[in-house]
């Protein structure tokens, strides 16, 4: 048993690398050799994780991936606990349908981060994803519970079809954010392209946003300016084409 499992990029994938075997809680019971032998799919062909990463440590739910792997998909899929840190950018389906633990990406993430598998009704149902960069389209799609934090910009359809949970985006959020959202919150610290089916409610200081941003600053080390922590937010209720119990909270100044 070691303090952490470290995967250092040894061979950069040439094609899409589906590595949904990587989840912090699953590594808790595996030694380094077993982790290296976990199956991946590279360009549609089967392979092992060890062909691409040097594995150090084992039997730990604290996992660190070192290397920029924008072609790597499905990291943290179905993760239920532990801590997974990726020092670099990752591809699509990060934390797909995860239910617990924390994923911290020190780079960008592709489409469908925290989202749902194709055809599934629910995306992530617990845990936290922090992306210290930009995300692709439909991040947090059909999220049921949990928190997705993006310190950069979000693509199209952020939080689309959310059932509950929280999405925080520090940069610009693309068109269609929150469309078909039932419950849940999208907290936008910059501009957000709201669907027409969201209706303005009021401008106020939501107490949970200050609490949430302080938590991110303290526990996760995300730099959050005081103006956001103590600021006012415009509340838009929606999606009124759905249940309408969700919200977009857009920062409106101090």
């Amino acid at each position: 048993m070691s303090d952490a499992v470290t995967l250092s990029l040894a061979e950069r994938p040439d094609h899409v690398l589906v590595a949904d075997c990587i989840a912090a809680d699953r590594f808790a019971g595996l030694d380094a050799n077993t982790i290296a032998a976990l199956p991946v799919v590279h360009g549609g062909r089967p392979g092992t994780l060890g062909e691409f990463f040097k594995v150090r440590g084992g039997r730990s739910s604290v996992v660190r991936i070192e290397g920029d792997v924008p072609l790597m998909e499905g990291i943290g899929a179905g993760m239920a606990g532990g801590e997974l840190t990726i020092v670099g950018s990752v591809g699509r389906d990060l934390g797909l349908a995860m239910s617990g633990g924390r994923i911290d990406v020190r780079g960008n993430a592709g489409d469908n981060a925290g989202g749902a598998p194709p055809g599934a009704a629910r995306g992530m149902s617990g845990g936290e994803i922090i992306v210290r960069g930009n995300v692709g389209d439909e991040a947090g799609a059909r999220m049921r519970r949990g928190m997705l934090v993006v310190t950069g910009a979000g693509g199209r359809g952020m939080g689309i079809g959310m059932i509950a949970g929280t999405v925080v985006v520090f940069g610009k959020a693309g068109p269609g954010a929150g469309r078909f959202l039932k419950r849940g919150s999208i907290v936008a610290l910059a501009s957000i392209d709201r669907p027409a089916t969201f209706r303005y409610a009021c401008t106020y200081r939501p107490p949970h946003v200050g609490l949430l941003l302080r938590y991110l600053r303290g526990r996760a080390g995300v730099p959050v300016a005081d103006r956001y922590v103590a600021g006012k937010y415009e509340r838009y209720s929606g999606d009124l084409a759905e249940l309408g119990k969700g919200e977009i909270l857009q920062w409106a100044g101090e």
Binding site: R145, G146, M147, T166, R183, S185, C202, Y204, R205, P206, P207, H208, G210, L211, L212, R214, Y215, R219, V229, A230, K245
Partner: protein
């Protein structure tokens, strides 16, 4: 034993095991946090008549509160497990929920026994309430006319101690009051302790039961009433004409002891004859605070 010429009686204070919760109330300013805390802890001097005992533990700086606003830490005690959530739900609902700008957080996050206070209060939202999980804790957001009230879903409950005490026996009422005020000043804001009575001081110490009225659970402590010295078996030394009591509740016995260690010497002032304590012969309460042992 004497401190500043004041006799420390060779006796002990007898206290009881109670259930305790700690609430952290924050507000946009310290004034509003204090307003809510004052109302919440009002009429909570003794379980005899109030069904709970509560008081302000200390003021909290913004750096000490979960939401970074000024706050007040409150301790709340009852005699049994069941009545603590009942009292909290009613009182938080009527005094903190109603108070502008406030939010209410659990101050005993590590306590395994959880009281579903926020969970019960959420229904005030009439279906418009929403919950948020932040850092593994669930909070309820209740829409109110001002904006939103935020309350933690559950609050921790521990076994605490209620009824720690000491009595200040003085030559006159002025000296007794000055000594009591000095003791309260010395004990205020100590961690884990509250003084639930008005200004921290009790003038109407009581004995168990009644000599005359069957239905009374507590009546005047006649052995310590100076006006009854001539007609009761008085326990007052010569020259004592006024007695005040300090009652202490806390999260545990060491907290009570630490407060008594600070408060008793502060009460040993000119005009004070003796510091003693109330007990029931050691038969009722499991916690015995021996004055001389604490001060040694």
């Amino acid at each position: 034993m004497k401190i500043n010429g004041v006799t420390i009686a060779d006796t002990f204070a007898e206290a009881f095991t109670m259930r305790v919760a700690r609430l952290v109330i924050t507000g946009r300013t310290a004034k509003w946090a204090r307003e809510a805390a004052t109302k919440l802890t009002g009429f909570a001097t003794s379980v005899i008549g109030c069904k709970c005992e509560a008081g302000i533990e200390r003021e909290l700086t913004p750096a000490e509160t979960p939401d970074g606003r000024p706050g007040i830490s409150v301790l709340f005690l009852t005699m049994d497990k069941a009545s603590l959530p009942e009292q909290l739900i009613v009182r938080v609902g009527q005094t903190v929920l109603t108070c502008p700008t406030t939010a209410c957080f659990d101050g005993l996050p590590d306590a395994p026994d959880r009281l579903a206070v926020g969970k019960a209060l959420r229904v005030f939202g009439d279906g418009f309430q929403a919950s948020k999980v932040i850092g593994g804790k669930r909070y309820w957001r209740l829409p109110v006319m001002e904006g939103e009230f935020l309350v933690e879903e559950t609050f921790g409950m521990l076994k605490g101690v209620g009824g720690g005490n000491f009595l200040i026996l003085a030559a006159d009422a002025e000296a007794a009051l000055a000594a009591a005020e000095a003791a309260v000043d010395a004990m205020t804001s100590l961690p884990g302790v509250i003084l639930p009575f008005p200004g921290g001081v009790v003038r109407s110490g009581s004995k168990v039961g009644s000599k005359r009225y069957k239905n009374m659970v507590a009546t005047t402590n006649d052995p310590f009433d100076p006006t009854l010295r001539a007609i009761t078996p008085s326990q007052l030394p010569e020259g004592v004409n006024s007695v005040l009591e300090i009652v202490l509740d806390g999260t545990d016995a060491p907290a009570i002891e630490a407060a008594m260690r600070a408060g008793i010497p502060a009460a040993c002032r000119p005009g004070v004859n003796t510091i003693t304590a109330a007990n029931f012969g050691g038969k009722l309460g499991p916690h015995h605070f021996h004055l001389r042992k604490i001060l040694a």
